[in-house]
Symmetry: C2
Subunit: 382 residues, 2 copies
């Protein structure tokens, strides 16, 4: 297994580091765009590289259903299949199958051994277990793979305990499957425990004790509710090995979210929101201010925008109809640099033209990647 | 008006030339991709330039309805609006309003002065006349503009005569409007006359007598029915000024169609099919053979393909599911050069992923552009 992580700089609890993988070095903190089904939606591999993205995430659930891991493996693995030469992280499929479970008709069902679920594509029945999740991820060939976990709800302590304990048993099974044969991928474990401090800490201690290459924190609360996310990170960070990469799953919807988790000591995060928001007409706009990573400092690093707290402009709004400026004057994304105007993007968006999705996604992904580059620079230069 | 056309080489009736416009030189024969509503669907301006396309077509009907010529003019004209630095040709809107007239509910109505039509977007009532078509095209700012004509049906001689004569009167009115104020765009007239030799020849003589910068041939038969298209070209080509650029409207669906019209002496053609076919899973594959532009020669230039007469593979077919090769080994389009495989395109197409539309459109446009480059080379090197 080619995997190493080195923290090169610290500023408060924020960290800058370098992660070495089979497909290259990743400088942290790092935002990982999501390439659900072998493509970061609307973008080519060249586009994603041009945004400066260093690593992308692939979804085991989606790739298992279509085109299937056997085909991907036959064609040389996910890197070759999607023509992406840099590192890839795959999730375990857990998040998607449990999301399905919460939808009408209960599309998934959990037992001690694993999860049975219906495909959202054709209703066919599938099953994921810790073993099969790892086998699928091995066939896909990502650089970093995730243990099969249950994306636990926030409340209902009795259930959260059950789910956490099952997740811990599944982590051991994931790890055993990973250790069978060649294990040239880096396996990360996932801390669960809902909204309960003692459970999060118990889970952190357990995951930490497995001595895996990396540690993640997940669950329904993480990413969706940023105050809780930061609180959960703070509960566990003294417990986990500080030399390991720490990954917050599903974080990166609002630019400030990235500032928050980096300030709390997180190294990696992924989120579909930047591309999904772009497709829905919400385009990032704003800047970092401040230089301190102490969140109580008046000069603390923070995101500011002339548009709204979330730093998004709605490109479909009438105010942009005749606005000849690029999305952001100072932006170095390919869309802004090429000179595409807000007026043109407004026209493409309202006309539902395919080009719109690409141009806006390029901007939003570059925006989040650049934010990480700037945070890293602030950590290093302090 | 900056416009000049020089035929530099001939081979049989096939010609190679150079057309000078305000936005640069166009080497002919030339395929013009269609950028309906200010975008060649799924492609950015950079993508289109990378295909080698030298000039694109914009649709007056679509741009008039959305975003409207007043806005485009305010924002600096169509070139600046869509970030396209090279030449543009706009059609007159005639084709679209008459197509609407043939649809259920009769969305358009012709009178001597012009055409009243309902918007396909919102049912609102609009009107185009020769004068307003030229005014819209002036506001859009294309390098080449088209006279307002009626896209005449193939049969019904009585009607075809009426429509042709009205088109001739509209040509004079288009020309008068064009000559008012600054006329820095090149106006082309359009030959109509349906499937009637004497009418096509009468129309050709009339259009030729107006001494415009260029001459086009249109009508329902042109482009859709290639045998008729070539026949119609042959009927008129001795009548029209051989020093003028000759443009066949709507030609370029099948690769052989381009060979046919170039062999018949055409310099310019446009077609939405290459991008539309791509989006529907039909991808060009094949080569030119032969070197003679005499269509009776056994060594005549012709298009051949291992797939079918039309030279298309259906990327959604199961045979491509595990095919790791690029669409065409020898293809120099950005999609094939980057290494995207048939299997990956099959997966993206079946998953309805946005990236599919762009990758396939890049290939199909480059394919048609390259075909023209190769035909030009054959004409020149003979």
């Amino acid at each position: 297994m080619k995997f190493a992580f080195t923290i090169t700089h610290k500023h408060g609890t924020a960290r800058a580091g370098e992660m070495v993988t089979t497909h290259g070095v990743v400088k942290t903190p790092v935002y990982m765009p999501v390439g659900t089904i072998g493509t970061v939606k609307a973008l080519s591999s060249e586009d994603v590289i041009q945004t400066g993205a260093q690593i992308i995430l692939g979804n085991t659930y989606h790739l298992h259903l279509r085109p299937g891991e056997a085909l991907v493996k036959k064609l040389g693995g996910l890197h070759q299949f999607m023509n992406w030469p840099k590192p890839i992280l795959t999730d375990s499929g857990g998040f998607q199958v449990f999301s399905l479970g919460q939808e009408a008709g209960k599309l998934s069902k959990i037992d001690e051994d694993g999860v049975t679920f219906k495909s959202h594509l054709d209703g066919s029945i599938h099953r994921l277990t810790p073993e099969s999740s790892i086998q699928i991820q091995r066939a896909l060939g990502a650089d970093i793979i995730m243990a099969f976990d249950e994306c636990t709800p926030i409340k209902d302590e009795v259930y959260v305990v059950q789910a956490m304990e099952r997740t811990h048993r599944w982590l051991k099974r994931s790890q055993e499957e990973w250790q069978r044969g060649i294990h040239d991928q880096a396996l990360f474990g996932i801390i669960q425990g809902g909204d309960y401090k003692h459970l999060r800490q118990e889970s952190a201690a357990f995951v930490n004790s497995q001595d895996l290459p990396g540690i993640a924190i997940g669950g329904v609360s993480v990413g969706y509710f940023m105050e809780k996310t930061v609180e959960h990170i703070n509960w566990v960070k003294a417990i986990i090995d500080p030399t390991k990469p720490f990954y917050t799953m599903g974080v990166g919807r609002d630019p400030q979210d990235i500032v928050d988790v980096v300030m709390a000591g997180v190294d990696m995060f992924d989120c579909v929101a930047p591309t999904r928001l772009a497709r829905n007409g919400a385009i990032y706009h704003g800047y970092l201010e401040g230089s301190s990573f102490d969140h109580t400092s008046p000069d603390r690093v923070r995101f500011v925008s002339e548009f709204n707290r979330k730093g998004r402009l709605q490109i479909g709004n009438a105010q942009f109809r005749d606005d000849n400026r690029p999305i952001m004057e100072e932006c170095d994304c390919a869309t802004c640099r090429a000179g595409y105007s807000r007026a043109y993007l407004n026209h493409l968006f309202k006309s539902d033209e395919l080009l719109y999705y690409r141009l806006s996604s390029i901007h939003n992904v570059r925006f989040m990647v650049r934010l990480c580059e700037q945070l890293r620079e602030k950590i290093i230069s302090h």
